[in-house]
Symmetry: C2
């Protein structure tokens, strides 16, 4: 094994560990909440508790990393939808994707209001990542004449967040669907 | 003045007093909140503080009476809209009216969670009065083929309440408008 290859394999193992740790933490947070025991997260990820603490000395660091990862994935989905769907459909698909993000962020609101400074950058990160992603979808759909031009990124971020607060996922999905339908320009 | 007429005039004076008291209390609650001083309410209604306490020995009684009156007016507006507007337009107009009721009920949520037993019947009263009013509008609009048939009274009561929570009335109005538009069947 050449010294050029070995560090890469180690790095890629570490990255896989980190990715499965973040994935496990996301699932455990979603079911048990952000106060779930670290050993539960470690067990689900198939790593030792020490690995968790080595990556994330504080629980808040892990919570922040999970939500950054989820926000990044939601922002990145905008490009996927744009590539696969027409302007109006892409916007609708993304609003549902964003609604899922809101609906599954169990305990994040409580964490954000806990006063822990580790969480302070999250709301800005949320806005900085999701705002431009939605902005591009909205510009494209309004430009194509498919979506009414009198709504803003802030309107949509707020309205879909409000509609996604209840626990009933089926209702949330239908109501976000109604709202997205209302954005369409009648032909 | 005959003894038959006098009691009626007295009763009608008392009713006018009560109506202007409820009206004044509604305005004061909307600006100052449900903990506003009784003297402020009495002054606005043009009655003495004693009159307020005679009608409503406890502040909670006055709060309950104001919200029952507002709920009644919102329920009654359904018939007005039905008489004046087409099925779809009547539903849209009522959803805006209901949104206004939610948006202006300053302090009611806090009052409802205060644990005062006087408030206990209010949520049931809200549902019992507004549910059937909306149900008739929805049945008529769905029956006319103007509104999609896959939404329920509970869906609309919840969704419009959620959209009406923010403080920005202009945005609330536009977002409720988008939502109502999404209920329309495309022609």
């Amino acid at each position: 094994v050449s010294p050029e290859i070995e560090p890469r394999r180690v790095r890629s193992d570490a990255q896989r560990n980190l990715a499965s740790l973040l994935d496990a933490a996301k699932d455990v947070f979603a079911t048990t909440g952000v106060d779930a025991p670290v050993r539960e997260i470690a067990a689900r990820a198939g790593v030792g508790v020490g690995t968790v603490y080595r990556h994330f000395p504080q629980r808040a660091d892990l919570v922040v990393a999970v939500f950054r990862t989820e926000i990044d994935a939601c922002a990145a989905s905008a490009a996927d939808f744009t590539a696969r769907l027409g302007p109006g459909e892409a916007l609708t698909a993304w609003l549902h994707r964003y609604s899922d993000l809101i609906a599954t962020k169990h305990g994040l609101a409580a964490a954000l209001h806990s006063g822990d400074p580790a969480f302070e950058p999250l709301p800005d990160y949320f806005t900085a990542r999701l705002g431009p992603a939605l902005g591009q979808l909205l510009d494209r759909a309004v430009g194509a004449g498919e979506i009414r031009p009198d709504v803003t990124v802030d309107d949509l971020i707020s309205a879909v967040r409000e509609l996604s607060g209840s626990g009933d996922r089926d209702r949330v999905d239908r109501m976000v669907g109604v709202f997205a339908e209302g954005l369409r320009v009648r032909v």
